[in-house]
Symmetry: C3
Subunit: 258 residues, 3 copies
């Protein structure tokens, strides 16, 4: 099959949206909130190939444009029960939708995905006004080249992140650090589901090589700077070997597997 | 009262269904999915005495034939709030239904039952199409002769299984190991809510004497074999003293209290 | 501003209702179940100033008279998504309602409030009969004088209470110990979400100075006595330094910050 391709490309798309391009060229979209996302340069019309979509929970800034993208590319979507119902309402074929819960590992588009605990809420409102909730999902994504990525999604800190680190040994984590207060209808939160300190110790507990911050629109903000500084301090004190990463929306991080 | 009866009979009924017959002859049914369960030899019509039913969560393969059995025998049912609503719709008297949550311990049919944490989802669809979710329930079942049984139900692994082991010291656990992929409408999962390895360390954390595997239709399957092997290895390495047990649907395990 | 005021007044109102009066005179009501609460001497008509209401979850004995009080005083209410919908139906302005989840810290009425994990269920029934669930909320309440109060709400025990103790170092905790069996329609529970022993070790794990018991109507009951005794024993054995407190509804505890 030619030269060994070990590079994994990770493009941050603002909020919690990521586009992973595996070494074999498989495109995995996570929480693709694009068209109404004020920060990302990548819109649905710009996507040329999507092989798999992961939706962590039913919030508007996570489910985002999943319906349109899934319909356009006919690709599988791994999600919770509430998101599934909403996506069916929006015209996605139920055959594309893989509903799962914590632990039930699936393979789709050649990629193994293990849903893990997330300490958050997942809820959608359907057309008839009914409100449906389900389990919010973290994900361990197993790429074909052996790279393991942990998508924390929106979650508060919990000690079993240590267990996730021990059992599934992710190399890279997408860690929610701050919260966008760019919507009028939201109350002003003082921090995201994890404070910068909590996000830093979570990264340490997960034993990540790289902790890529997310849930923001600009990396030049105090919470992200603090997260970076805290992990750098832990590194200099030999308390952690996790390298913090913060990308601006559109920026790409390339991971070379050792 | 004659001779001391210390034998507890545990009959596996396929999937997560169990019939416990206590030393005093009390019959406790757990997650009685029988008539549509392709694997069990025991059907609703075969039941002659049921004193108590425990329903861990609202899934079809757990709530099963609870409504019919509860109506037939007039026995109490311990369950979550979603299952309660569904069972009322199916004609069960609300007087029989004991809705509970994690921690709220109840006594019914002479048996004390403590609901404990389960890392899963519980959801039912009612007649009007509405979808209701609740807490999924693990159970610690305290038999009259002092035997304590832990029913894990469908759950992902979590570290507080150690706490459940410490606080409630179950002798026997019903541990979900694999998943039935015998339904066309389900995606093909690579493992159950716990992998065989996770189920083995969960059994160790719970400090069980006997870990009885469940959530399958035939014990002759790779996940179950692996679970058995892993616990046997732990035993030979003195890392655990838990004895793994796998039964075929219909088979009975007799526990003699020491 | 004159003399330093360091006294925090905590008035227990039966069940899980508390009125905190901060050193600066801010009145915070928690789970204000008053008018239908057979045990409290304080009714809605007696309230003269309420600055902030915290609702832990949607149960009738927690959401209580929140709608009436919030409407009367126009104060902010911090709550989960289900309680928010119910309160809007009951006429509370959505502008007063701060919906949050675990981790998302807010400031209202000058008080910082951090919602934390609670191992319980939160569910409400709306006018149209629909049933909505959300995350139940524990709270860390940061008073202006540096005092931190943990409101456990109804929760089962979980090991991350240790993490809550480490990360947020509450001085005082409102700890649910027992359960009121004063309603005909409830099954008879043998203990609350935490047994007295669990509530005692939870208080120790949280490293509280004072553990104020709640979820009862009279302190002269066996569970509360046992809780007090267990913590006193731990203190005499140097296993904990937490001082247990039990108040009768209407009684006040004054905390002087060291």
């Amino acid at each position: 099959m030619g030269a060994i391709k070990m590079s994994t490309k990770i493009r941050f798309l603002g909020f919690s949206a990521f586009l992973i391009t595996t070494s074999e060229g498989i495109n995995i979209l996570i929480d693709p909130y694009l068209d109404d996302n004020p920060s990302t340069p990548l819109k649905v019309k710009d996507l040329t190939k999507v092989d798999l979509i992961l939706v962590s929970h039913g919030a508007f800034d996570h489910i985002g444009d999943t319906a349109e993208i899934a319909t356009k590319f006919g690709c599988p979507v791994i999600c919770g029960g509430d998101s599934k119902l909403l996506l069916i309402e929006k015209g996605v074929s139920s055959k594309q939708l893989i509903e799962t819960v914590w632990g039930l590992t699936v393979k789709a588009a050649g990629i193994m995905v293990r849903p893990v605990e997330s300490h958050h809420r997942s809820v959608v409102k359907l057309k008839d006004g009914s409100i449906v909730s389900a389990l919010p999902l973290g994900f361990i994504i197993y790429l074909e080249n052996g790279v393991r990525i942990y998508n924390a999604s929106d979650t508060g800190i919990f000690s079993d992140m240590k267990l996730i680190g021990e059992l599934y040994r992710p190399h890279i984590g997408f860690i929610n650090v701050t919260i966008e207060n760019c919507f009028d209808f939201l109350p002003e939160f003082l921090n995201g589901e994890m404070t910068p300190y909590e996000a830093a110790i979570a990264s340490q507990w997960l034993n990540l090589e790289y902790a890529i911050a997310c849930h923001y629109t600009k990396k030049d903000c105090s919470d992200i700077k603090q997260f970076i500084q805290l992990l750098e301090n832990m590194r200099s004190e030999d308390k952690s070997y996790t390298i913090p990463v913060a990308l601006d929306p559109g920026e790409e991080f390339v991971y070379e597997k050792k």
